[in-house]
């Protein structure tokens, strides 16, 4: 079973990721910010990460840069949750090493489609 790590300071988003992806056969682990995300990443070695960008303690961009430098985060898909209003954030995330992005707001179909696309 493939594991997806969701990092978001919003519980509703974390829940949504879980409720959407679990029935599709993925195991979900969650973290509330980038720093927590890094710990979970190292402990759980997920197959994919879905991370928010705007978070307290450590934001998504820092998380992505750190994850890419880590053995557990190199080569796995990391998807960032972005908003249409901040295209420059998308660019920052890409250069930090994000694989892709999901524009907020998103629905569960979109989330499943992106996960399947990146995990096969």
């Amino acid at each position: 079973m493939k594991t997806v790590l969701t990092i978001d300071d919003s519980k509703s988003v974390r829940d949504m990721v879980m409720f959407t992806l679990e029935p599709e056969g993925y195991r979900i682990v969650a973290a509330e910010n980038g720093a927590e995300g890094l710990e979970t990443l190292r402990a759980e070695k997920p197959d994919m990460v879905i991370t928010d960008l705007n978070m307290p303690v450590m934001d998504g961009i820092d998380f992505i840069s750190n994850a890419r430098a880590d053995a557990a985060g190199s080569g796995i898909p990391i998807v960032m949750l972005t908003t249409e209003s901040s295209p420059e954030m998308k660019e920052k995330g890409k250069s930090a090493g994000a694989t892709g992005w999901i524009n907020k707001p998103f629905d569960s179909d979109k989330l499943v489609a992106v996960t399947k696309k990146l995990l096969g």
């Binding site: 919003s10 519980k11 988003v13 409720f19 705007n54 080569g75 990391i78 090493g97 998103f106 696309k117």
Partner: protein, 682 residues
């Protein structure tokens, strides 16, 4: 499950809104970045999640609120009393939205209420953003969905960034996804370095894909949604007839391009064996001629291009041999690419030089008409195969010889009407001028139904001129060939038309210089036929490099049929002409080293190159087969020109010179009995 998520959102939003009140009040004393960031994040979450969890109206309202705090974060807006007032009022409305339990007419009504609109308006004034905004919905637009249905063909160039794999991209999944959309043709180029230099998490592959699909452009773009624009190029191919025909094969797509668009009419036909490439070029340019406009270029420009191309081919051969020494895979890939490009450039350039023989044939109508009138003969000229294409250089050179031969036919060959009717022939004589292509050669023949060559007269004249001696016996055919000897002319009177005794000699010289042959066939009383056998092009050919002792020779690839191993029992036989069995067929072979008088130790393992000319097959025994290469033909010096069996010379990749074998001559000699002695003498 979505119900649970909505429930989670409502709880979360309620919590956030409670905190929001405190945070906004705190702004009055503390407008620090941390505080502003926290407010922004809360609003951002409610806006983002709201639209996902059935609170779209709330989300749309929050969007304007969030805008203001985004500007404060970036320093474009300062915290004012007015802003704090607006924030508190906005927060209250958000609480009201939550109480309505999500989207519905009530929430819509609240969003349209004077209170809400006044706040949106005031916030917009503050931020300078148009009030009509609102968060965009994420669903794809209807227009995009309706696109498609018709099969289209897309060319996709996909070159992932070197770090793409590290960043979690899986090109294999993308290509799989594409292949699910329709028929996918995949070509890739790998720049994978040597194992010792290989970093396994870097990407070294470029893909060129062609997809035929009815899914539409947006679906194709969706596949590559996470690919950088710089790494990806998707172009929709022009379609003819709205079918997927463009994807069937290169040849058909080229042809459809010829019919339809100008941009493709000169498209080279690459990657084919030389003969078929030439044939294809011929047939395609024929079509192009019918349909396309042409441009005039001075031939000197073409010559310059040809010279440069020749140098390029030689340089490419050098590159090949340098790359073979270095043994670097990255270099090899580039070398292969260059080779492919040079080949297609060569074919394209050569095809530009191809001109239908009609351009020279055309003017003979006038020559025949004028001459027959002058000589009081009734002659009809029949032209055939005028569409056959020949290198412009060759066309330019054969015009004059052809005039000579036609004049000869009319002057010496065709009889006067009185003589003809006396001999039971129709009064009107006919001269046939025809051209056809046979492999890499062009055959041009001039035939007449006149009186034929007088073998006895030729013999008499040849003896008189000292070309032959009394003792020697000559067959009729051998005597006929004497008309090409220098200084030979049988005309009793040197007329203004022909018979200056230089005509046929000049013809032979010219044809020899072009790397061709001329032969005559004649039957007394029935007529004669002179056949010119010329290479289609004289500049660059595909050649097979073979080794004989220390020397390299080149065999024109167009003539090569196959290469076989020489088994020891065949090799055991002594030099000269022998036969080998190839699939129960007996093929004569020539030992090239013996023929050329080359002295070197016999190698244990030899090979036989089977060549075919004019339907006749012979084997040429060589020591080794080195490979195939494009060969720029350089003419031999005057001193070497008359050595039979050699057609020219070329420069190899390592800078050394190789001789090009004249296969037609070799085949004829292998076929004829006197082969060995004649060659040995030479």
């Amino acid at each position: 499950m979505i119900e649970q998520a909505i429930q989670a959102f409502v709880l979360e939003a309620e919590e956030l809104l409670n905190d929001l009140e405190d945070m906004v009040l705190r702004l009055e004393e503390d407008a620090s970045k941390a505080n502003v960031d926290e407010i922004f994040r809360a609003l951002h979450t409610i806006k983002g999640s709201g639209s996902m969890f059935a609170h779209t109206a709330l989300s749309r309202f929050t969007h304007h609120f969030e805008n203001a705090f985004e500007l404060i974060r970036s320093g474009d807006l300062t915290v004012s009393q007015e802003l704090i007032d607006l924030s508190l009022k906005s927060r209250d409305i958000m609480v009201q939205f939550l109480k309505l339990g999500g989207d519905g007419p009530e929430a819509e009504a609240l969003l349209k209420s004077d209170r809400a609109e006044a706040l949106i308006c005031a916030l917009s004034n503050l931020t300078g953003v148009e009030a009509a905004g609102g968060s965009t919905t994420s669903t794809t637009t209807k227009a995009e969905e309706e696109e498609g249905k018709v099969e289209e063909c897309f060319d996709i160039t996909f070159i992932p960034d070197t770090n793409a794999l590290k960043n979690g991209m899986r090109p294999d999944l993308l290509i799989k996804e594409l292949s699910e959309l329709g028929m996918l043709e995949i070509a890739y180029q790998s720049h994978v370095p040597k194992l010792s230099d290989l970093a396994p998490d870097l990407s070294f592959v470029e893909w060129r894909l062609r997809l035929t699909t009815s899914a539409g452009l947006s679906a194709v773009e969706d596949v590559f949604i996470f690919a950088d624009d710089a790494d990806l190029k998707i172009t929709r191919r022009a379609q003819h007839g709205g079918t997927a025909a463009c994807c069937t094969s290169t040849v058909t797509s080229d042809e459809s391009g010829l019919k339809g668009s100008k941009s493709e009419q000169s498209k080279p036909t690459a990657n084919k064996s030389s003969t078929s490439a030439k044939n294809a070029t011929v047939s395609q340019s024929k079509k192009a001629e019918q349909k396309s406009e042409s441009i005039r270029v001075t031939s000197s420009r073409l010559d310059e291009m040809m010279d440069a191309l020749g140098e390029l081919v030689i340089a490419q051969a050098r590159l090949d041999s340098v790359a073979a020494e270095i043994e670097n895979q990255t270099l090899d890939t580039v070398v292969e690419e260059v080779q492919r490009l040079v080949t297609s450039l060569r074919d394209a350039t050569l095809s530009i030089r191809m001109v239908p023989v009609d351009t020279v044939f055309g003017k003979f109508k006038r020559v025949v008409r004028d001459l027959s009138a002058e000589l009081g003969k009734n002659i009809h000229l029949e032209l055939e195969g005028g569409e056959t294409e020949v290198d412009k250089n060759i066309i330019d050179r054969i015009g004059e010889p052809l005039v000579h031969m036609i004049r000869n036919s009319i002057d010496h060959g065709i009889e006067t009407p009185e003589v003809r009717s006396g001999n039971g022939k129709p009064e009107q004589g006919t001269v046939w001028l025809s051209a056809s292509q046979e492999g890499g050669e062009i055959l041009i023949s001039i035939e007449d139904d006149g009186k034929g060559l007088d073998a006895e007269a030729i013999r008499y004249r040849a003896l008189e001129r000292g070309l032959i001696s009394e003792e020697e016996e000559y067959s009729e055919a051998a005597l006929h060939q004497l008309i090409f000897e220098p200084g030979f002319s049988t005309a009793q009177v040197v007329s203004s038309v022909s018979g200056r005794g230089v005509g046929m000699d000049a013809v032979k010289t010219t044809i020899d210089e072009l790397g061709g042959q001329v032969t005559v066939l004649s039957k007394a009383g029935l007529g004669s036929r002179i056949t010119l056998r010329l290479p289609v092009t004289m500049a660059i050919i595909d050649g097979l490099r073979v080794r004989l002792g220390q020397s390299t020779f080149v065999i024109p690839l167009a003539a090569v049929e196959e290469c076989v191993e020489m088994t020891s029992d065949m090799a055991a036989q002594d030099s000269g002409r022998r036969f080998i069995q190839i699939r129960s067929e007996t093929v004569p072979f020539l030992n090239l080293d013996t023929l050329f008088g080359m002295m070197h130790a016999k190698e244990e393992r030899q090979r036989v190159v089977i060549v075919r000319v004019d339907g006749a097959r012979i084997g040429l025994v060589v020591d080794d087969i080195l490979g195939q290469s494009q060969t720029v033909i350089k003419s031999l010096s005057a001193y070497h020109r008359d050595i039979p069996g050699l057609g020219g010379a070329t420069i190899l990749g390592d800078g050394s010179v190789a001789l090009i074998l004249d296969v037609s001559t070799l085949v004829r000699w292998a076929e004829s009995d006197g082969a060995r002695s004649k060659l040995m003498v030479a």
